[in-house]
Amino acid sequence: MKLRYGLRAKFLAVMVLMLLLMAAAVALMLHRQERMQSDVEAVSREAMQSIVDDSLRRRGEGTVDQLTESLANPLYFFDLDTIGVLIRAALRQPATRYVVVFDADGLIIHDGSDEIVPYGQPMEDPLAPSAVAATEQLTQFSDDIMDVTSPIMIGAQRIGGVRIGFDLQSSRAVQVEALGDLRTRLAEVGRRQLWWIALLSSALLVFSVVLLWLVQRWLVEPIRELAGSARQIESGDFDAQTPQSRRNDELGDLTRAFSRMSQSVARHDRDIRRMAYTDALTGLSNRLAFREALDRRLVQSNGAGLQLGLLFADIDDFKRVNDTLGHDAGDEVLLQFGSRIRAAVEKYGGESAMVARFGGDEFVILVQGSATRAGDVRAMTTRLADILVADLGLPIVVRNRQVFLSTSIGITLFPEDAASATALMKNGDVAMYQAKVAGKNCHRFYSRAMDQAAEHRVHLEHELRGAWDRGELSLAYQPVFRLSDRTLIGAEALLRWNHPEHGAIAPTVFIEIAEQSGLIETLGPQVLRAACQDAAQWQAASPFASPLFVAVNVSPRQLRNGDLPRIVAASLGEAGLAPQRLHLELTETAVIGDEMQASRLLTQLRATGVKVWLDDFGTGFSGLSHLRRVPVDGVKIDRSFVADILHDPDDLALTSAIIAMAHSLGITVVAEGVENEGQYALLRERRCDLAQGFWLGHPLAMDDFMDLLQIPATSAT
């Protein structure tokens, strides 16, 4: 195990430091002890020397005293035999170097030897003169001798003396021996102390190890467990077993707090997960959850031979609900849709079916077929799709209003259509789009062809991007006449795309592509500028005729972009066209999306003199009430009304009502799609102001339209 500089290492370091300090203290103590030993030795040597000298002196003096006493009579009688015996007895005492008895003249009488060789001779040693002269006991020292001498008296008469020489050497030797003994004992004491110190050190070491173990057990291990647990939680494993502790200390508190915290974190994680994976409105899974579930299923099914089916359900024209009834109503609709889908799926989708809402009005259903029966999934999804289309087609009551909605469903199957989740989801989208294209309120299975169609669309979008610059796009102008006298008073600018490969492409197709891809925001101003310039040319071509207006369609996107008034002004200024000659046509829905903004913009535009018309009037949900709030100069009755005006009394009534109402508001009315004289006559009869249509005039290229202008108005077909 790698020992990082953690608690344990730190504690270990402290321990080591402590042990080092103790070792230093011990070393100091030992040093002191050594010093003390040598001091003790020195003091002892001095004391011993003084004691030894003192005792030697006392002994010597005592011995001499005694000897003097004993010698008096033998000396008096010259009893050399007895003197010899006494001297020899004295000589036998340890450390006695010599014993000499001398006469009153200081001549040697006896030295303890049998022969008494120096008998009668004077003593020659340095201490002799003072010894001989001494009248009382005298102790003298030389380097290695303590000489104690005493006169021997009979009464007051001094008959001689005795000298005893004590060997200091031998007493010194005794002293040295004693000191050696002392040293040995001190060393022994030192050794014993060393043992104690060693014992204490060992005890401390053991104590440290035990403490280390306790630290390990009490602190490090629980903390490591907590850290490990925290790491597990950090890596997302909230179910990890958190350390338990019944300890009644701070770490126990910490462990329990950690445990509670981890539970709380797990709970929060569950909440967050639920929020992250759940659609807040419907409570269904969201895109993320669905995507993960799909991935899981795909992994599971790999090799297991599972079959999966994805149903992409999109409410048709749901935007209209939001736009017309408000977002709250839209949400309610979505909730009801969600519950209907869930109910259907629960009933027919099999056990492992899953429903998710992908935001907006898009719901996705995942169903799982059995591995054993091929084609099972297709049948199941077909049935489910049929049921869903039917169920969702039933009217929904929202705020006491019945709303009729339909649903388009795209279906893709695994593993037939794609192997990856991304591809499957793209496929589902494509299939759903196809269902829309196919007329909505139906379901479509994904096919390769669909893919190609989608690819074609993408291709067109790409082509469209540079089409204006390449000159593939051009403007055609459909003449607009005054119904009362059938005079040409203007034209509606229409965009045409002549594709080099595919030829003329329907405006409904490429305008939608431009609208959806946002290209319209680039194309719109270009169209506006070109139309203004063309209109200015019309005026130049026939300066004396009454000036013609040009009507240009403005997409909702352009309206939402606040730049429109500026672009309009720039285009007019560039072309030198009077603002009254420009009519901007807006669809009803474009205006309704954001009434306030639209009103502001339109008011601004109209203030410059530009006319604003509502296109396709009558097809929306808005009703006429909007006309009060949105300032417009005219409305264009949708061609669907005009088409049946001769045969359908309802349409005629509606058209008549629109015209009457518009006129009451001071608004001009234009009829679109006039294709025969009967329609023309009826509209004139109903006092419609203006009209356009194939019967009156097809859209013409600029040059052709210029030609038309040369013809006097009266000679028009």
């Binding site: 010259f78 009893d79 050399l80 049998d114 008998y119």
Partner: protein, 320 residues
Amino acid sequence: MPLSGKSLSARLGTPVLVLLALLAGAGASTAAVAAPPAAVGDDVLVLGRISDDPKSHYDQLKPLLDYVVPRMASVGIREGRVLMARDPQQMASYLRRGRVDWVTETAGTAMLLRNRASARPLVLTERDGRSHYRSVFFARKDNSIRALDDMRGHSVAFQRPASTSAYFVPAAMLLDRGLRLEILLSPSDSVDAQEVGYLFARSELNIATWVHKGLVDVGVMSDLDWLNPRRLPPAFREDLVLVARSELYPRAVEMVREGLAPEVQARLSEVLLSAADDPEAGDALRQFFQTTRFLPVDTASARALDNIAAGMTRVREEVE
């Protein structure tokens, strides 16, 4: 003051001793060895000795007594006892009063006892293989003294007044030579030119040392001591020379009291003389002052003893 007859002494002594015993208290009368000695019967043989160390001497005397007594049953001896006296006077008293039957002594003291208590020598005693010895005079070689006559005006060291070989015999010899002896106060005391100054040196070693160191001119001791290195250090002897010597005289004598039954004397003499040949007596003899044998008193020895006795008398009269 010689007393005659055992019966008389017994008759006189018994009441005195009984009185003494009564005065001394109970228990004293039963002691076999302790003084004062009680009167003993004819069946008891009492061995006496002059001693300043009765304790150790008792053990030296008793074995021989124990050897002798059983062998004297034929003459009526049933028991043996030891009795020691402090000095010759006391011993003489014991002998006179019949308290001691048998005394072992050196020649000089033996003669003293003969003079004072009429004791008579029974047998001669040979110790360490020497039955006789003599006194020798010696002086330093660098001294001019080479004969007794040269000693006039010089000093001589004797041992002590009780010594046979180192006092009585040599002093008698000097007196015989017509020399006058005068005691000196100390070795440094001056000697009259016509006299011989003498001193008691207390020990043979002192005598040897004094002579060797020139404290005195002449020293005297027995020839046994002369040859004993402990008495005369060999180093000294090299510097000394013998000046004169006495005739041989017995070393020690076993004395019996006057009046001891003749048959007892005879039997004791018989037992002692034959002891050296009896292995059973070996240990007892050896402990009896290193005795090697007992010898009969020959005429030469008897004459020597007479001479000693005469010399002692003369020394007493002329010197002391």
